[in-house]
Structures are given as structure tokens and as C-alpha cells.
Symmetry: C2
Subunit: 381 residues, 2 copies
């Protein structure tokens, strides 16, 4: 990364919630800022370990490193601000001035410490770009967490299949089946299988299925769309992402038409996937298919139709580049969602989502952890 | 907050992982940056809503607001960088120059957009300070999540009580009982009860109990300390935090001595708690008690003794001020952990942790969601 520039070093500062720092360090860290420093002169990567985390930093940053970069955990000045420790690390490497690359979201105080010490800062998106193409180890992590995501979906489908109708409302295990009951049952399976539900289990029923981020509580009625979007985080920090939509005792009306349109759009989008293809064309194909079935192919939030983009990259962030509605070539090793949807705030919402790896081999993609599609929930998956 | 200064506004930018922004907005938001702007001239709080999140921003930021500040969700320039939208919001409020307060961790690019637009930035810790004292609504959230934390602990204790020994190793439900099995069982209960395990369930057994952040996999042996630290996050973003240490078929040796010392330190620390007391004295009392039982009262990570501070504030962050080893007066409404521990890398670790609310009423504190203490696990809690 540094090799292509005339910069003297790279610095980032953040806490455990900064995915870029997680990518650079593999350190799952604490909830307070720590620093990563890369110096090109000695090709050395340094993690300034936070207080009480030396052992974990050693294990995660050095012992489990998969590349050959020279790595060190620095414990000098534990307790000082991370920006100050980054400055000392640069100085210890003999870099007392010059240009330092930083991600644009580096905390402002860390940037000021670097500037006050005499360095010139230049922002870089090199790490963000590099993260798009996954290594085999990363693909393994994504595959594993997506398998657990599928197990969560199977639990949801089983509960819907077991539920019974009473006065139009679904009941399960002796009580009304709500979006919250379903969410908790899914999350318990995810936790039991060793991944974090991560607050991302979105379940809508009927009109709330048209709300892209509904996390409230609603009774689930017979005949309405039940949209289930599960995106847990695995032990190494990688996310899964899968959406299915079910209808219990549907009457074959709006929800069936929307489902057929969305499934056609999903298949059309998948057929586009291959290295070299412009990501924007994947979205255009999906939208065109939805339009062909008579639904508005471009719509704003709260309107009827296809209200969002067709997909996004998934890795240590749940949403990361590439964005499938933007012009950018797909590359082998990218992992993206494909997730067309049709929504009507008065009727419901249908979305189907696969997580796929772009491959050099035919047909140009592989669905990670395939899971059946069916509008009617089935007992055994 | 602005009233006490001659500043013209306050700006913060961050994503859903920024707890300060969550505190200011109550918006659970997406994983990309959005802006909060407060302008004193009209006493108006503005949330610059991200694309596709208008509805959720309206609900969480405005409909559920508990104060009387004038609030608005701004949708102009959706898709532009959050820093640029903050500038436009200030300009729309008639503030075209002057001093803007920002938290020191505001992203560097947002700070640059503000400076380039002609504003002078001054960092403030006013929000961090204000967050220390919890409102009744916040205390309610903390109480609820801590009750679920206790349910998770009860599940762990039950499993340990049910486990049997075979060749020195504990077995449960037909298989070896590992730290990972126990962690997953706890996390499943937490998820089922509607809170996020949040990657914070730390379980150590024997020597790994001396590792403050052990999340690896180890068999659990009879006679060794099993340290269980559970810190889930509730639906409103508030954390619980509780630690217990158990020993199955202990021989009354080191682990019993350490347990007695830690329990005495916990009680000594609790007795100190009251509004007006210096937080540092709470730590000093705990440490002195540990010393009185013959264990080193000051130790570094990896050494024998009390290797960390006695506690920290808990709220929308798992670790926030006040820090109990620093000189700062405790105040009514603060919620802090009290968690002394004794560790020996060759033998194990014992820690006991309560989450308490500082109260004006006697005895000066209240344990949120009390849970029994016992070195020997019991079946029914």
C-alpha cells in the first residue's frame, strides 16, 4: 500500500468498533482508542496495545497473523492518548517528519497530534479498496457465518410452518406469534451456534415489511408478507446476510405477484455476476425485471416499488464497497449481497437476498451457504 | 450545554457504533456516518438523516424524545458526506461563522469540512460528563438489561451445578464442558430474552481465568476457578455487567482463599459508595482488603494479585466515566461496576462484580438486579 506512494508511513486510530482497524490488526480490542502504525522504511506494522490488553494483542495481532509483515506490539506509554503513541512509534522508527497516510475517518484528536508533531497528513482509501477482495481465509469466515445465518433462517421458517391461525392472527407455542418472538427465537439459535445476532435481525410483517429497518413488535397475521433479514457477526468479525420472505396461508394476491417479480429479479441479477462486469448493470437488470412485472423500478422510501439498491459488499463491515448500483467493475474474490425487493406500505414487502462470492470459474459466482426459496414456509430444512 | 459557553453550535458525526451520538440522538442508525447539530440561537437539535433511514430517524429522534428541545430530521443533501450536511444545517440556522463545539473524537474529515467552511472548532467533553449521571428512564433500561444478565448467570450456574466430573474434566449434556459451550448457552438465554450478547461474554477456567479478556476454548476442570463475566446490550443500547466465579468440587485451597479475599474486597468497596465520596477511595479500600488477605494489592497484567481498577461507569458504553481508581466525586444517579479480583496465571482467577446505582438514600447505593454469590454452583436460582 505504501509502496505505491511517496508517503513515509500510515497511521490509523480507533476502537473495537472500527472495522478498518480490525482488518489491519485482527485485534478485537477494547472499546477505547488504540493505534496502528505502518512504517515503510522497515516494513513494520505496530499495534500500540491498550492497557490490560497486551496478551490479547500479542495473540491476535502477531501469533495469528497470516502475512509476513514484521509485526510488533508496543507497550510504551500505555494510558497515553493513541495519537501520541502513534507519534512516538513513528519517531522510534526514525520518521520525524514527512507525509503520513490516514483514513479520512481517523479521529480528529489523533490527526491533530500527528500534525502538531510536524507530519503532513494525506487521506487514503487504500485499505477500503483492498478490503473488497477477500482472501481464502476471509471467504472461509464468511462461509461459516453464512451457514449459521441459514440455520437461523431455518428456525424462523420452521416456526412459521408450525404456527396456526386464529381470527387471522398467527399463534405459535400457545401464544400470539409476534415479530419480537420470531426475532428472539432466531437470535437464540445464532448465539447457540457461536455467532452474534449483532442487533441486525430485521423482521417485518405486512406493512412493517415495507419498512427496511423495522425492529419493533407486531403481531403476524395470516396472508401477509413476513420479511426476515438476518445479518449476524461471526467470531472473527465477518458478517453473514440473508433475507427470505414467507406468507402463511396466502391468497395468491399482491404478495404472490410481488414474490414472483422479486425472485425473477434476483435470478436476473445473479445471471449478470462475473468478474469484469460493471456492478451498476447488476442493479439495472434487477430493476428492469421488477419493472417488467408491473412494479415501479425506481421508488423513494415509503413509496410503492423497488426502493433501494440491489446489493453491497460484505466483510468485516456489514455494508462495504462495492455498492451494486454504482459503476465499478466486479472482481473475483468480492463477496456481495444480491437483494432486490418490492414494497407497498399499505400491503407489505418482499425481499430475497443471497450472499455470493464472485468467481473466475463459471457461472461467475457462488452462493455462500445456499438456502431454499419458498413463499410458503416448510417444516424441514 | 451550549448555554454555559460562548459557542455558536455543537456538531458531532459518527455511525451507529458511536455511543456519544446514540446518547444525543437515541437513533440506532446505520453503519455509515450521519450528523447531529445543535444550534443555540433557536435551541434546535437536528439529525441529518442518512439515506433510507428517514422513518426510523423520525421515530427514534423525535417521536420518542423525552425532553422539550425543538427537534428536526433534515433530509436535504441525503448521500452527501455528513460533515457537509452539518455545515449546511448550521448555515440554514443563520450561523455562517463562529465557534463550534465538537467531541474530540469527531472524524477528521468532518472537522475539516467545518473548518473549511469558516468555523473555529473547540473540543468539549460536556456530553461525556453529562452522560455520567443517569436519568430515571436510563436507570430503568440499565435495570432491565441487568435482570437479563442475571438470567444468563443463572443459566451458567445451573449448567455448572449439573455437570459431572470424569477424569478431572467436567462433562455436561453428554460432552466435555468447555468455555465455548458455556458461553453459547449463556448467549442463547440472553438472545432469547431480547438482549445482545454483544461479544462480551468472557469465560475463563483455571489459568485462562487470569486472562481478563479470554474468549478462547478450553475444557473446564474440576477444582479450578470458572470466571464468568457477562455484559450484554439491551434494546435501547444500555449495557449490563456482572461477574461471578464458581468452583466445582474445589479442595478449599488457593481458590477458596482468593474467593474470600475478593468477596471481602467487594463488600469493603460497596460500603464506601455514596454521593460525594472520592471514587479513588473505593478502589483503595478494595485493594487494601485484598492486601490484608495476603495477596499483592497492586500488580501488572500477567502477575499475581489485583491487576486492574475496581470499576467503571456503565451506560450506552460498557466502559465510561467515572473510573473508580481516579479522583472524582461520586454523584447520585451514577451507575458503576464494583469488581475486585485476584489472579494467579498458574492457578486461576477470581472476580466478583456488581452493577450499582449511587443513591442519595442510605446506604448510598443500590445493587441493580441482585444475584446471589456462592463459590459452589447451585441448581435453582
Amino acid at each position: 500500500m505504501l509502496a505505491d506512494t511517496d508517503a513515509d508511513g500510515f497511521v490509523h486510530v480507533g476502537d473495537r468498533f472500527d472495522d478498518e482497524l480490525r482488518y489491519l490488526t485482527r485485534f478485537s480490542g477494547p472499546d477505547r482508542p488504540y493505534a496502528f502504525v505502518y512504517t515503510g522504511s522497515e516494513a513494520t506494522a505496530t499495534l500500540c496495545a491498550p492497557r490490560l490488553f497486551h496478551e490479547q494483542a500479542q495473540t491476535e495481532f502477531i501469533d495469528r497473523a497470516s502475512d509476513t509483515t514484521h509485526r510488533q506490539v508496543r507497550t510504551e506509554q500505555v494510558g497515553e492518548p493513541a495519537g501520541i503513541r502513534a507519534v512516538s512509534t513513528l519517531q522510534a522508527a526514525g520518521i520525524s517528519d514527512g507525509t503520513i497516510l490516514v483514513p479520512q475517518q481517523i479521529p480528529h484528536d489523533a490527526a491533530l497530534y500527528l500534525e502538531q508533531a510536524g507530519y503532513e497528513l494525506r487521506s487514503t482509501d487504500a485499505v477500503t479498496v483492498q478490503r473488497q477482495q477477500k482472501t481464502p481465509a476471509e471467504i472461509g469466515c464468511l462461509r461459516c457465518v453464512q451457514q449459521v445465518t441459514a440455520a437461523g433462517m431455518a428456525q424462523a421458517e420452521k416456526i412459521l410452518a408450525e404456527s396456526t391461525e386464529k381470527n387471522g392472527v398467527l399463534r405459535w407455542s400457545g401464544a400470539a406469534l409476534t415479530t419480537e418472538v420470531l426475532r428472539r427465537q432466531i437470535n437464540a439459535i445464532l448465539a447457540q451456534d457461536g455467532v452474534q445476532p449483532a442487533g441486525n435481525t430485521v423482521i417485518g410483517a405486512g406493512s412493517s415489511a415495507a419498512d427496511l429497518h423495522f425492529t419493533g413488535v407486531e403481531e403476524i397475521n395470516a396472508g401477509e408478507t413476513v420479511l426476515i433479514d438476518i445479518s449476524p457477526r461471526g467470531p472473527h468479525g465477518y458478517y453473514g446476510d440473508m433475507t427470505r420472505t414467507f406468507v402463511v396461508e396466502g391468497d395468491g394476491g399482491w404478495e404472490r405477484r410481488a414474490y414472483v417479480a422479486v425472485e425473477a429479479a434476483l435470478d436476473a441479477a445473479l445471471r449478470q455476476l462475473a468478474p469484469g462486469v460493471d456492478a451498476a448493470t447488476v442493479h439495472e437488470e434487477a430493476a428492469a425485471e421488477i419493472g417488467a412485472y408491473g412494479f415501479p423500478m425506481v421508488a423513494e422510501e415509503g413509496e410503492i416499488g423497488f426502493t433501494h439498491g440491489t446489493g453491497h459488499g460484505v466483510g468485516l463491515s456489514l455494508h462495504e464497497p462495492p455498492i451494486l448500483s454504482r459503476e465499478t467493475p466486479l472482481e473475483s474474490g468480492m463477496v456481495v449481497t444480491v437483494e432486490p425487493g418490492v414494497y407497498d406500505p399499505d400491503r407489505g414487502g418482499v425481499r430475497l437476498e443471497e450472499l455470493v462470492l464472485i468467481t473466475a470459474a463459471e457461472p461467475g459466482y457462488e452462493i455462500l451457504a445456499p438456502y431454499p426459496r419458498s413463499i410458503t414456509p416448510t417444516h424441514s430444512r
